[in-house]
């Protein structure tokens, strides 16, 4: 009898299994193939805009992805470094051999955690409560809680041109029955689609026709533990190329052969809008003369180059022509053809904010099964599902991050409140308060939670508290030190291109100026603090006005989120509620007025009616 069974060993499954076993639960991780644990079947990178911040959040909560990415990166850069602090985000090329290897090592060393190779085809459910899983060979394994992180493996179909094969990535065996069983238990099963581009033999590419793209010339880490595993001078470059008019002609001439454009007539899966195939791009943006493609190295240990931007479901012969029309790839050898993959997922509106399903108690789901896309999106859900499975077993309240606390909160709230149509990717534009959800302050936002749920060690927590203390000390130091308009001071200020002083000014106020940074402050006073501490202080001082405005707005939302809707509310009793609103509210069962307001199809009028009703029926204070 296990406490928790995690089904699936991808990024969600690894985080979930680590979170439950680290909090003392006897955990079993079931995967189709141990060799594919923490596999990266698509792009060889971790992070990116918004996603990089999620990795920092995972790290602050005590998850593994940040540390593991640090151990396996071969190139890293800070995106948007020319823009403001709110939108900066890390992106790394991760070695596809090292990343899974390091993760497997961590899993193997973890106490309370067992790994088993098997395909899961059913669940054991009694009175809508989960009791365990059933394997392909009918073996039954019991547990108090189950976390499904099946990725694309539910009825996976690989599509290339006019062929459809029932298999997962790498030709792995999919689960053929589990999604049917889920439907029988009451889940709405939807079909989604995604795709991946070709892999090219590195030695067959003429890189002289490409533009090199390097990482940053400084040391960067995802994890707040700041351990460096790479040599910044030995980072591996990516290469930028563009599609040619010939590429576009080949695609247009062969459009009817693409699985998605007529090659296959039975495609039901909805593909991601943000990640269209190259044929999609050429059809939808017909006037665009060329499209950017990136050649990304997959590993230091083998020669595959990933062609980012070139995903397609054309037949193999057309893919050959397409690839050879690209500059530098005239003689390229395709090692793996691009393919699209169709798979089953569940309707994420059937989940609670804790990622426990509303349909079966103690059953949690995370990752692509919930309709998301991306390693980072999967990992953070796995972590939250793991944390909440543990809290539920211990009879404690779930950890629910708010939209103003973490991108993870934005993601989960979007999933359970709005649902999805196409595979969901995080974007900074999905967050209302991205100025609060920064790369640099993820530890400030979330380390307390990580500590409370038992995933942050005492040692790390002490370091975190010391950092907080130092930040306060530094602010005090700046407030308590004044400079006066002496000739020397004003000369220095003019030299660095800022207005000279008329009256005395504290260093705190001086730092408010856009053109002043800590190197200038250090001209006047010795600052013995870490770069991270200085960064926190500088951002908070410089953007105080904007941050305060965001805080004010966020508080309004939090007020609404704190107005709870009782579980047993009967929406039929609210007169005049629009029928669409009534149906949505019944289906989604929002836990707060704030969440109800975010449901599309629920209008402010409906909310007013709802609040009036709550006030009347539950003596509810809606002030």
């Amino acid at each position: 009898m296990y406490d928790v069974i995690v089904v699936g060993g991808g990024h969600a499954g690894c985080e979930a299994a680590l979170a439950t076993s680290r909090t003392g639960n006897k955990t079993l991780l079931v995967t189709g193939n141990i060799k594919n644990i923490a596999d990266m079947p698509c792009n060889p990178s971790i992070g990116g805009s918004a996603k990089g911040i999620v990795v920092r959040e995972i790290d602050a909560l005590g998850g593994e992805m940040g540390r593991n990415a640090d151990k396996s990166l071969i190139q890293i850069k800070m995106l948007n470094s020319s823009k403001g602090p709110a939108v900066q985000s890390l992106r790394a090329q991760a070695d596809k051999i090292t990343y899974p290897k390091e993760m497997l090592k961590t899993l193997n060393e973890q106490e309370n955690l067992e790994i088993k190779e098997a395909i899961v085809e059913d669940l054991i459910v009694e009175n809508n409560v989960i009791k365990g899983i059933v394997l392909e060979n009918n073996e039954r394994i019991n547990s108090k809680s189950v976390i499904l992180t099946t990725g694309t493996y539910l009825k996976a179909d690989i599509l290339i041109g006019d062929t459809r094969r029932r298999e997962g990535p790498h030709g792995e065996k999919p689960s053929n029955h589990l999604s049917d069983k889920l439907r029988e238990y009451g889940f709405n099963v939807i079909r989604l689609k995604t795709g991946t581009p070709q892999r090219i033999d590195k030695s067959s590419i003429d890189f002289s026709k490409t533009k090199e793209e390097y990482g940053d010339d400084r040391y960067l880490t995802f994890s707040f533990e700041n351990k460096i595993y790479y040599d910044k001078d030995k980072q591996v470059p990516c290469h930028l190329i563009y599609t040619t008019p010939e590429t576009h002609k080949i695609i247009r001439d062969n459009l009817n052969k693409s699985s998605m454009y007529g090659g296959l007539s039975d495609i039901k899966g909805v593909g991601p809008r943000y990640c269209p195939s190259i044929e999609d791009k050429i059809v939808r943006f017909a006037d665009k003369e060329r499209h950017q493609l990136f050649l990304e190295p997959e590993s230091l240990y083998y020669d595959d180059i990933y062609v980012q931007g070139f995903s397609t479901s054309m037949p193999k012969d057309v893919q050959e022509k397409m690839v050879h029309s690209l500059p530098g790839l005239e003689n390229a050898k395709i090692l793996k053809y691009a393919y699209a993959i169709e798979y089953d997922a569940i309707d994420s509106k059937q989940l609670k904010q804790s990622l426990e399903t509303k349909v079966i108690e103690n059953l949690f789901t995370a990752g692509q099964i919930n309709g998301t896309s991306g390693y980072e999106e999967a990992a953070c859900q796995g972590l939250i599902a793991g944390i909440n499975a543990n809290l539920k077993l211990k009879g404690e309240k779930p950890l629910i991050l708010k939209r103003n606390e973490a991108y993870i909160g934005v993601l989960i709230d979007d999933l359970v409140t709005k649902g999805i149509i196409d595979p969901y990717r995080l974007l900074t534009s999905r967050a209302e308060y991205r100025l609060l959800l920064r790369h640099d302050n993820a530890d400030m936002r979330l380390t307390d939670y990580g500590y409370q749920v038992g995933l942050i060690s005492e040692n790390r927590y002490n370091n975190f508290n010391k950092k907080k203390e130092n930040i306060n000390k530094l602010v005090e130091l700046l407030k308590n030190n004044k400079i006066t308009p002496t000739i020397e001071t004003n000369k220095y200020l003019e030299d660095i291109g800022t207005t000279p002083l008329k009256d005395g000014i504290t260093l705190f106020d001086l730092l408010k100026r856009t053109e002043i940074d800590f190197s200038n402050i250090e001209h006047f006073i010795n600052i013995d603090f870490t770069d991270e501490e200085k960064e926190q202080v500088a951002i908070n001082i410089k953007y105080e006005g904007y941050i305060n405005k965001a805080l004010k707005e966020a508080n309004k939302m939090v007020d609404l989120d704190n107005k709870l809707i009782p579980d047993n509310i009967d929406y039929d009793k609210i007169h005049n509620l629009a029928s669409e609103a009534k149906q949505k509210l019944k289906q989604i069962k929002p836990t707060s007025i704030g969440q109800a307001l975010r449901i599309s199809g629920v209008n402010p009028t409906d909310i007013s009616l709802l609040m009036v009703y709550l006030k009347k029926e539950y003596l509810y204070d809606n002030k």
Partner: protein
């Protein structure tokens, strides 16, 4: 929510009849207690009944009572409307009787609020209905109707479309920084954008001022020294237009002394301590009071005496009104001219004789000219004319100023964008949409991205 409310729903003194509206669970029961005629508790919904409102045995008024039962009524509650003869005294008496029999006096707009809360109407409609109820002239009625059908909304929708394109471009720059061939929105591009948006919002606001004029009338003060002929001018204007004079407090804290209608536009003459009564009483008004009146007014009529020299007090007032909508009237042209007219710095000088009815038409034409009344007539009333929308638009202007400041201080574009997004949200609030997903949709339809 369940108490029964009552209020006079027609403007006092304006119409030949007044309507008192009652809404709530007990509305039929309460009116029935006061009504002599059919037993209203037994009649069908949506029927009209003739009878009398009684104060015990005394007949207060001969009335028609409309019974409308829930839910097919304006508020979706039981509603009774009492049509009575328009006299202020009897209307007020009936309202008092209702209040003493269990009704509560409705707060301003409470009927509409109930209609909104009971799900009968949406927010924009609610506001427009309030405007229909409040409109005093035909023009303002059509303005209110136009708002319902979306005339204003279209202006704002266009503006939002412009903004969302820029927003989506900035968002794409942030979310897909590696895409070098997508145009990078720079501070300078944003600056042009801000100028353009500000111009459009200012236009809508300017038009809204016209809308305000149509709806609320032109707040007009008549000032001048004792015996220059203020009251005779006023009486002349009132006579001419057969204005309705009431003693009821207007929309502001000012007492409206009288209203004059010129081409369908209402001039609200603001009381300057009873100028209409006699010249003798007035005259305690010093320069100080005149100046405070000038501050608030939309139009100032300053009267001078043709028969007297201009003194320092007059000059002080002339200076104050120079940059406002003002007309200097030189009265008593029938008397000998002693005035030093060359000292008057004002483009709008009209010579009149209130006594002989000379120059009155010139004055009216001048007022039309000053307020573009001819033009307002031809416009399609695309104005925002409720206070909420106007104040929201003003918020937008404040935000645009912040953006400007941000641009000048080299604040990163993604922070400046926060304010621009807010402008877009507020505009959405005015027309009643606020879907964040719009932005995401725009992002994917406008740009080509992906792995």
């Amino acid at each position: 929510m369940n108490d029964t409310i009552a209020a006079i729903s027609t403007s006092l003194g304006v119409g030949a009849i007044s309507i008192i509206r009652v809404s709530g669970n007990d509305s039929i029961k309460i009116v029935n207690k006061l009504f002599k005629g059919d037993n209203l508790e037994n009649v069908d919904s949506h029927t009209i009944h003739y009878g009398f409102i009684m104060d015990n045995d005394i007949k207060i008024d001969e009335v028609l009572v409309s019974i409308m039962k829930s839910p097919k009524t304006f508020t979706a509650e039981d509603v009774v409307e009492i049509n009575c003869h328009g006299s202020i005294a009897s209307t007020k008496k009936i309202l008092e009787l209702l209040l003493s029999n269990g009704c509560r006096l409705a707060e301003p707009g409470e009927f509409t609020k109930r209609a909104f809360l009971n799900g009968r109407i949406d927010l924009l409609e609610a506001e427009a209905v309030m405007d229909i109820i409040n409109s005093k002239t035909e023009k303002s009625l059509s303005l209110a109707v136009n708002q319902l059908s979306g005339g204003v909304s279209n202006l704002i929708i266009d503006l939002r479309n412009d903004i969302i394109k820029t927003l989506a471009n900035i968002e794409v720059n942030i979310d897909y920084p590696e895409y070098e061939d997508i145009e990078q929105v720079t501070i300078n591009m944003l600056k042009d954008n801000v100028i353009n948006i500000r111009k459009k919002i200012t236009e809508i606001l300017d038009k809204s001022k016209d809308g305000q004029i149509i709806k609320n009338g032109i707040k007009t003060v008549i000032i001048g020294k004792p015996n220059v002929g203020k009251s005779s001018l006023l009486n002349k204007l009132l006579d001419e237009e057969k204005a309705i004079v009431t003693d009821i407090a207007g929309t502001t804290r000012d007492i409206v002394e009288g209203t004059i209608t010129i081409d369908g536009i209402v001039l609200n003459i603001i009381d300057t301590a009873g100028i209409r009564k006699t010249d003798d009483v007035v005259e305690s008004i010093g320069v100080k009071k005149s100046i405070s009146l000038i501050e608030d007014a939309d139009l100032i009529l300053f009267i001078l005496n043709n028969n007297e020299k201009i003194n320092n007090e007059d000059l002080e007032i002339l200076e104050k009104i120079k940059n406002k909508n003002s007309i200097v009237l030189i009265n008593k042209m029938d008397l000998e001219s002693k005035i030093n007219i060359d000292k008057i710095e004002n483009n709008n000088i009209i010579k009149i004789s209130a006594l002989n009815n000379e120059g009155i038409d010139d004055l009216k034409n001048k007022i039309k000219e000053l307020f573009n009344l001819e033009k307002i007539d031809q416009k399609d009333y695309n104005y925002l004319c409720n206070a909420r929308s106007i104040s929201l638009l003003k918020n937008c202007l404040d935000l645009l100023n912040n953006i400007d400041e941000g641009i000048n201080n080299n604040v990163p574009i993604d922070m400046i964008e926060i304010d621009l997004k807010e402008v877009w949200n507020i505009l959405g609030e005015i027309i009643g949409v606020n879907y964040y997903d719009e932005l995401i949709d725009q992002l994917f339809s406008q740009f080509c991205l992906g792995k």
